[in-house]
């Protein structure tokens, strides 16, 4: 889990915060806090699919799965276990 968390965190920091973590917490809402916009969410989806070999289904494109580091880690853990 900690490896997943670090890889996702690194992706968000590199791609959306330009290397500066700006106090990004694991609970920060990407959309509400303006860390990632709607296009960025889909870039995150593409990263998850390619990096972890999963398929994100249409109905899984919801904030509960994708809107914070914690949400992404939990979602990913469920997908990888399934």
């Amino acid at each position: 889990m900690s490896d997943l968390r670090e890889r996702i965190r690194a992706f968000v920091i590199e791609n959306f915060l330009f290397g500066n973590d700006d106090g990004l917490s694991d609970e920060s809402s990407f959309l509400e806090e303006g860390i990632i916009d709607s296009t960025g969410i889909l870039e995150l989806v593409s990263f998850l699919e390619e990096e972890f070999g999963i398929t994100v289904e249409d109905e899984e494109l919801i904030p509960e799965n994708l809107d914070s580091i914690n949400n992404v880690v939990n979602y990913l853990a469920r997908k990888l276990a399934g």
Partner: protein
């Protein structure tokens, strides 16, 4: 020092991103980290585009002829890319289409002429939606002077364009829901939005959160005035099962600007002479660009054009000319005065 120079500004020697672009780093060949990152994706792009074309074929087979009024609604600015997208989906898939133009009070007269010509020639129903001028003036004046949206958004578009697009997306989605239209089409260029967002089922929760983020960026008085352009709260439940697919086909169809221009001319579309080098419909764009450049030190279209240069759909010299030529002072003055700034 690695990289090319435009005056004293260093730009990537492969694409055209400048040293002022957030997060940019150049290697010893002067190539930026964004180009390096894209290399892998570009190698797979032919395969990926074919995959998305198949997905669109399947999706259209599923939805065509089943909706009560229209198969698809097109967010139609009258510019080159949205006109070409309209032609593409009409001719390739024979869909029953509705085109909507969001009249932001800055649509150029030539763009209106093109809208009339193209929708008549393609036999597409067309409506336009115009907020009252005081509302448009307030939001555009605000965003011309201040960056109110999240930083990632401002890498891809000016604050003025982002505010306008927020309203466009809201109005078009609302129309799709109310008319039970299953497909919403946009004419994003292949550099504007990534291919993995080119076919996407919208869903109420994500749209709601996006709209909240957009609304929360606005001062309270403007948020209240813009409420009619958002999705009403009750719609998220009422239409929960009929949220449409968004598509932007230019991300995965062949994009050859000369060929597009030639096909558009045959249709009667004329390249406007009354807009700036990065728009074929909007008279506010040059001023919006200038405000963004003044505040951030980079052109709001540079990300899009750099992507297109990497993809080989825009020639690098042409991209440099589009991005690093000064904004037309008369166009900047026109919009600035109209907004009372």
């Amino acid at each position: 020092m690695a990289g090319d120079l435009i005056g004293s500004l260093r730009i990537c020697s492969h694409c055209i991103l400048p040293e002022t672009f957030p997060g940019i780093k150049f290697d010893d060949q002067g190539i930026c980290n964004y180009c390096r990152k894209e290399q892998k994706a570009l190698q797979k792009s032919v395969e990926k585009k074919a995959q998305y074309r198949r997905r669109l074929d399947d999706l259209i087979n599923d939805i065509k002829g089943k909706a009560p009024l229209y198969d698809a609604v097109m967010a139609y600015s009258g510019g080159k890319d949205s006109s070409y997208t309209l032609k593409l989906i009409k001719e390739q898939y024979r869909l029953k289409l509705l085109a909507i133009t969001f009249d932001n009070h800055f649509v150029s007269p030539m763009a209106w002429e093109n809208i009339r010509t193209v929708t008549n020639t393609l036999e597409v129903d067309h409506i336009s939606f115009r907020p009252p001028w005081p509302v448009a003036k307030k939001i555009f004046s605000l965003t011309a002077q201040r960056d109110i949206f999240p930083r990632p958004t401002l890498l891809r578009a000016s604050a003025v364009c982002t505010s306008c697009m927020g309203m466009v997306k809201g109005v078009v989605l609302r129309t799709a829901l109310e008319m039970k239209i299953p497909l919403v089409a946009f004419g994003w260029s292949p550099g504007q939005a990534p291919i993995h967002s080119a076919i996407m089922k919208t869903n109420p929760k994500l749209i709601r959160q996006n709209q909240m983020a957009f609304g929360n960026a606005l001062p309270e008085d403007i948020r209240k005035e813009l409420k009619p352009y958002f999705i009403p709260e009750v719609y998220y439940q009422e239409y929960a099962d009929s949220f449409p697919y968004n598509i932007h086909p230019l991300a995965f169809f062949d994009y050859d600007e000369e060929e597009i221009m030639s096909e558009m001319r045959e249709l009667g579309w004329r390249p406007p002479e009354d807009t700036d080098t990065n728009s074929t419909n909007c008279l506010l764009n040059a001023f919006a660009n200038q405000c963004h450049i003044d505040r951030h030190g980079f052109h709001p279209y540079v990300w899009e054009i750099a992507n297109m240069v990497r993809q080989g759909v825009v020639d690098r010299d042409e991209g440099i000319a589009k991005i690093y030529s000064p904004q037309d002072p008369d166009m900047v003055k026109y919009a600035k005065e109209k907004l009372g700034l």
